[in-house]
């Protein structure tokens, strides 16, 4: 039985666009524009989409590193207690900050150059009640070993490490308070391909050992297929398709996902796929197009797409739930 760990409802993050001498707000970047999403305990949920579609913003806003503009985030504990995070005061967030953590994209800015690894990791531990220094050293040392690094590395400075090592230290930091959900924001995309595989494997091992849930943000759909249980495809701040990862590749419903998948390089020469090239750029999130936000670039667009905004509807493929928002799907809709 699947149990939620996090529920997002009508989640929006808008950034004001300021201009002029008086810094007046002239518009909004709708970075995340109405996302409904359930993340289940123990799953790996992929979040894919082009650059600038709002993936990072969504991840940060869940942790309230960016304040959401609207909507609810509800955390469901192991004992099924629900807490609405968005309505909490900042200081009441603390018990939940332990449970939700993030691994960042850029290994070069993710560690503080002025502190040793231990120096920069010990303050969070102190804050959450690990008072003796020996204990803090032990926790960090154990975690370093868990990511295949040596305990002694905790007394080194970040510039002494390679990119892959830094990324593993970033993972140690996310793990140090024993979290339940980790947002991996393109955690491997800055790394060399050979190191990527190592870090991915490590992440999966850690997930098994610590009963973690991942929200795995990526722009590379070729990685997600093997890692993720489900995948959400995002376009201009909205989720356009959400389904089991196998179904996304086999029974693609949304033309945007189709285009993304067709862009994955295939090793098999016999298997020719026609690559769908998307025309034009991603529209500006300040003035998203009327109707379906994807219609100006959609190869299949019809008249209805220019006027009516499609909603995320539930279908069934392969006996699994499959959500998509497109007017042109001819499967029967399943009512909730």
């Amino acid at each position: 039985m699947k149990k939620e760990i996090l529920k997002l409802r009508d989640f929006k993050v808008y950034f004001p666009v300021k201009a002029g001498v008086f810094n007046r707000t002239v518009g909004h970047v709708m970075a995340v524009d109405g996302v409904d999403l359930d993340i289940y305990r123990g799953e790996v949920l992929g979040l894919a989409g082009e650059s600038g579609c709002g993936k990072t913003t969504l991840g940060k806003a869940i942790l309230r590193l960016v304040e959401p503009t609207n909507g609810k985030v509800t955390y469901v504990s192991k004992e099924n207690d629900e807490t609405e995070l968005t309505s909490l005061e900042k200081k009441d967030m603390d018990p939940f900050r332990k449970k939700l953590q993030i691994v960042f994209q850029d290994p070069h800015s993710s560690l503080n150059p002025s502190f040793t690894i231990f120096g920069s990791l010990q303050d969070p531990l102190k804050k959450f009640g690990v008072n003796s220094k020996e204990e803090r050293r032990k926790i960090i040392g154990d975690l370093l070993e868990a990511v295949n690094m040596r305990r002694e590395y905790m007394d080194r400075y970040p510039h002494e490490f390679s990119g892959g090592q830094r990324q593993r230290i970033g993972i140690v930091r996310a793990l140090c308070l024993d979290p339940e959900l980790i947002v991996c924001d393109e955690a491997v995309s800055a790394l060399d391909v050979s190191i990527q595989a190592q870090v991915l494997q490590l992440l999966m091992q850690l997930k098994k050992d610590n009963n973690l849930t991942y929200l795995f943000i990526t722009h590379d759909l070729s990685v997600t297929e093997y890692l993720c249980d489900r995948i959400a495809v995002m376009y201009l701040g909205r989720i356009v398709e959400l389904c089991d990862s196998e179904d996304l590749y086999k029974n693609t419903l949304h033309p945007y996902s189709e285009a993304l998948i067709s862009a994955i390089p295939v090793a098999d020469l016999d298997k020719k796929t026609k690559r769908i090239v998307l025309e034009g750029d991603v529209p500006s999130p300040v003035n998203p197009p009327k109707g379906c936000p994807f219609h100006p670039r959609c190869p299949k667009a019809k008249d209805i797409c220019k006027t009516e905004v499609p909603t995320l509807k539930k279908y069934s493929t392969n006996g699994n739930e499959h959500y998509a928002s497109c007017h042109l799907i001819d499967l029967p809709e399943i009512s909730k």
Partner: protein, 304 residues
């Protein structure tokens, strides 16, 4: 697990590499780069000599800088009086040494204190942003756009001349620059991912901005402290020359220079103002060399 054993092998190779290539630590790289800069090293040496000489002035000179000796007025430099004596028979060399104490104290003290104020405000406002930042920015603009000379005249006429009034004025007009520097650094640092990570743990604003971020903003601030030390020493000399700085009875470099206002002294008794003028220029030059050296050696974009 094939991958992990491979991984361990990678680690071993990397470890060996690190032990060789990274044996020079980051700090010592900055030091060695600084030491490679000849001007900066010469500057540092002369700077140190002048400071030590001022500190140990009583040991270096048998004279009292304040004692008037009417039997030896306006004597040219000699073995007894290296820089000669002034119009009241005081030994000029002794006065330059003792004057250095006050002048350097004013310069360095004002620079450090205005840095402390500027950093305290700039770090917090730059990191927090919002209305605190807007207010701090406007206040600093007001202070910076106010002409220093007028502020000095105003305050001197209200509170009278004193060393601490002068320093207060220097700090009031000087913190704005430091504030802007600290704020600008903070604005770029706060987007760094390690800061975001600290925030995701809910650490307090104070811990994040003063403990974790400030060390990464310090090097341009250090450079600025040296440069504004030089500037404050010059300003003190200028103001004291005009009779607006430190009260005349306290020997400072500017006050010693003050005698050159008299056209007679200027024409006939070069030793009363010449040597002290040279000391001021040399000292300021040295401080600037040190500042340039610091800037070049701490600038990460200038490698090698």
């Amino acid at each position: 697990m094939a991958q992990t054993s491979l991984d361990k092998k990678f680690d071993q190779i990397r470890k060996r590499e690190e032990e060789k290539t990274f044996s020079v630590k980051k700090r010592s790289r900055i030091v060695s780069k600084f030491l490679n800069n000849r001007l900066a090293v010469v500057g540092l040496i002369i700077f140190t000599i002048i400071i030590l000489a001022s500190l140990f002035a009583p040991l270096l000179s048998p004279y009292d800088p304040m004692r008037v000796d009417l039997r030896s007025m306006r004597q040219a430099p000699s073995f007894d009086h290296w820089f000669g004596t002034d119009s009241t028979g005081r030994d000029v060399f002794t006065r330059v040494l003792f004057g250095g104490r006050v002048s350097i104290f004013i310069g360095l003290g004002s620079a450090i204190l205005s840095a402390v104020v500027g950093i305290a405000v700039g770090c917090y406002a730059g990191y927090k942003g919002g209305w605190i930042d807007v207010i701090a920015l406007r206040v600093s603009e007001i202070f910076m756009s106010f002409p220093q000379i007028i502020l000095v005249l105003l305050l001197v006429s209200i509170t009278g001349q004193s060393l601490f009034n002068l320093m207060a004025i220097f700090i009031l007009t000087g913190w704005g620059g430091m504030y802007r520097l600290a704020r600008a650094r903070m604005l770029s640092l706060r987007e760094e991912e390690y800061v975001q990570a600290l925030r995701s743990f809910g650490l307090s604003t104070f811990t994040i901005c003063y403990k974790h971020m400030l060390p990464n903003a310090l090097s341009p601030i250090m450079v600025n402290i040296t440069l504004s030390t030089a500037m404050f020493i010059l300003t003190e000399a200028g103001l004291s020359f005009l009779g607006l700085g430190v009260p005349l009875n306290i020997p400072t470099w500017g006050n010693i220079l003050n005698v050159a206002q008299d056209i007679l002294v200027l024409q006939n008794y070069w030793w009363m103002w010449g040597p002290v003028g040279i000391v001021i220029s040399v000292f300021v030059l040295c401080v600037n060399f040190i500042g340039d050296g610091l800037r070049d050696s701490t600038d990460p974009s200038q490698q090698g």
